[in-house]
Symmetry: C2
Subunit: 473 residues, 2 copies
């Protein structure tokens, strides 16, 4: 079962990876999102050459050996690429054995409590509370995470008073029974984090994520030891040295490996195991609806120390267009719980031309003993089928560029105005009106643009966002 | 003095970086070699956007802030790119103030003892000893470093018995007065490293570099504490957390930051300073003749705890074609010492079209408020001027491709035969004969191909190597 090809299908936001063997087996994985085209270069130039011709069953030894062979490049880009390769091998292993990835490891959990994870700071406390209440009505969430402080903020708040206000307002709106989590994204010095932490504890917050710059482990440890609530962290970390120190010195109460950032499923399992040996739970980071969410579900099912819930992003697809159409079925939250996709491997079907953010560059190709590694560019923008978010597929006779212009023109362009969007939607061909309406709702669901301070997409973002609505089938 | 443009000039092996300000100042730096085209993507996509429009004088705050803004990508690729930007800013600062970089920091050393650094393991002990003796005759080196074990070798030797033999043979050939250093490149477990270390001590070796996998800091510490000789390490490390642990726990006796791997001159200075506070010397890693060697010389001149010598690669340009023609003057060893280039900034003139390894890909361009960041591709292969290694410039009427074919045909092609090379050299246009002869000597200087086990360049390498002899002026 020799690895015969390593392919990536993606763009600047995200890339799927397909590994095929010489006997016809195949598996799908995904590199980490963001600058994924650069990661694809790394995959094809620094991962695949060491993998082609090797036995696809040797996942663990490949996960060890490849970073050794690229030991001059210790860091995130390498592990983001390795994750794409490693997760494809796990899918392949599952498919060959006719088992889901978690079942391969003896996991039998099938539904997981999900926490509704807000990614936004550019949102007023009232608006945040309103949408969390709305989502609870729709999906019966009983756990919620909001953002506090400012990302890498050096003790600054996103705007003065927001942190205290968002905690008070959200707690007031959700009541005392809701589990409330927060994420400070590396904002605070230890003294400030402890001060904020005491306030959080007074409001029954139970999970304080990344209180300090994550690279200041000693700071984080100081906060962890000073507070009663759980301090969590580790999402960006890949270095086993750092994980060991983090766990052994109990710098956090909860480890949060991201399957795509840590270098894949194999290495995420190791982090969970390391934490389990020290009695710490593992709540993986899965802050978007790309395959990382599916990987996180399998991880939770497979390990002995899963945290109490799985992270489930509540941000609209309009803000993360690239996560749309990559695979199906997409996990959904029903009665506060999210189900593990069923079936062999990851249990999902990947759609390599699904995500339609603009393509950039090519990573070229590599050939080793007749085996190949290379990038598949996005198809040209002449597709005549449109898939809108949520899975509805619509066909139109117009070329993609026209549809893009029509759909993109109303909800993400410089107008930034719901009325203008509705007017523009009327100009969209009848066949794709459903998509247009859905986009409008998605946007509306996050409030009108005017109520989102600081959230006026730049043209480049608008151009990207417009593609959320239309993806080649 | 706002940063108005960030440009890179390079290829898959190495890339120069030019930063220009809105008032016309400019500086040149360099990203780390190897997969430098990928690093250029990172530079233009993940470094430059945070830098354009900022004050070029704020080097230290940019070196702090940019990794924060890219904190989802902690690792080598990011710091390799940052190094290109940071070193360009230091050159710019020096040029604006009319001082060399080391003088900006109060350094006044001008000549440094160099150690002759062998990079090769595919060389017999006899051949290695012979070339070290030859180099001593030519340049009066009194310190030499050879490679032992196998890179990331899991206790294996490059071939059975080579390590012991190369130490005995080289020591025998050089006599007892020569300083002898070794590099194990992450080969050994602690027990084996200590066993090898005792043998090294018996032969008067004083510097044992990277005895264990460098990412196993505890292993390295165990070896450091067990042996009398100096254990050195750190070349691949960029993470300040790791440097702190390495220094504070005295995992090594000598720190070896690489200016290009660690994220630039600013961050290399910090590592040196951290080590100085703990009483450890700093001997920077500079294993090739790209600008990293110049950066290392300035570092040694600027810091308070320089090690006793500077690393000076003895490998022929034929094996590192991309390091030829990038800048001048190239540092040379005279009487065992290498001089700091004189003049403002780094004291060298960069030649953006000098290094002629094949170009791959484009990182596209970025624009922020009218300021730009982008890649300059190599000029097409129609140059009519040829620069041969060593600095001689020859002009010919033929297009580059013909010259390349002629020069590349004899010394690096599948023939791999010195006689055939000389025969082929006769076919080269008279005007470029000097270059041909020089290439032949360079190859010959490392012994005939037949005496270099395992060192038969593949066609792709041959094609690259051929470009050493010809570079567009």
């Amino acid at each position: 079962m020799k690895i015969a090809s390593v392919e990536s299908f993606g763009n600047a936001d995200v890339a799927l990876v397909r590994v095929r063997t010489d006997d016809g087996a195949e598996g799908w994985g995904q590199v980490a999102p963001y600058h994924a085209d650069i990661t694809a270069h790394v995959l094809h130039r620094q991962i695949a050459p060491h993998a082609l011709g090797r036995d696809a069953a040797d996942i663990e030894s490949l996960a060890d050996r490849i970073p050794e062979l690229e030991h001059k490049f210790p860091g995130s880009h390498l592990y983001r690429a390795l994750a794409g390769f490693d997760t494809a091998l796990w899918d392949l292993r599952g498919k060959v054995q006719g088992k889901s990835v978690s079942s391969l490891l003896g996991g039998d959990a099938r539904r997981f409590r999900a926490y509704a994870s807000s990614i936004r700071r550019d949102i007023t406390p009232e608006h945040e509370a309103a949408r969390l209440v709305g989502l609870r009505e729709l999906h019966s969430f009983d756990a919620f995470k909001v953002r506090i402080g400012k990302e890498c903020g050096h003790d600054e708040d996103e705007w003065p008073g927001r942190t205290q206000a968002v905690i008070e307002t959200v707690r007031g709106a959700l009541g005392d029974d809701a589990a409330l989590l927060v994420d400070a994204n590396s904002c605070y010095t230890p003294a400030k984090a402890i001060e904020v932490g005491r306030m959080l504890e007074q409001h029954g917050v139970t999970h304080f994520e990344e209180p300090c710059p994550y690279w200041e482990l000693e700071w984080t440890r100081e906060v962890t030891h000073a507070l009663q609530l759980d301090v969590a962290g580790g999402e960006q970390d890949w270095d086993p040295r750092v994980w060991r120190t983090m766990v052994e010195t109990r710098a956090v109460d909860v480890v949060q490996p991201d399957v795509c950032y840590v270098g894949g499923f194999t290495r995420a399992l190791r982090v969970a195991s390391l934490a389990e040996a020290e009695g710490l739970p593992c709540t993986p980071h899965s802050a978007n609806h790309s395959l990382v969410l599916v990987f996180a579900l399998h991880l939770q099912a497979a390990i002995g120390n899963p945290g109490p819930y799985v992270e489930f992003s509540i941000e609209p697809d309009a803000d993360y267009p690239w996560q749309v159409g990559m695979y199906e079925p997409r996990p959904e939250v029903v009665e506060g719980k999210v189900a593990l996709p069923e079936g062999p491997g990851w249990g999902v079907e990947s759609h390599p031309s699904g995500s339609r953010a603009p393509s950039t560059g090519s990573a070229g190709s590599t050939e080793v003993d007749g085996f190949t590694s290379g990038v598949h560019m996005q198809p040209p923008e002449t597709a005549t089928t449109v898939r809108v978010e949520g899975g509805t597929t619509l066909t139109t006779d117009g070329p993609f560029a026209e549809i893009k212009e029509a759909i993109g023109g109303y909800c993400f362009s410089e107008a930034n105005d719901l009325d203008a969007a509705v007017e523009l939607a009327s100009r969209i061909p009848a066949a794709s009106m459903g998509g247009a309406a859905r986009c409008a709702r998605s946007w509306s669901g996050s409030g009108t643009p005017a109520s989102r301070p600081g959230h006026f997409p730049k043209p480049s973002r608008a151009a990207r966002a417009s593609s959320v609505c239309a993806s080649a089938a």
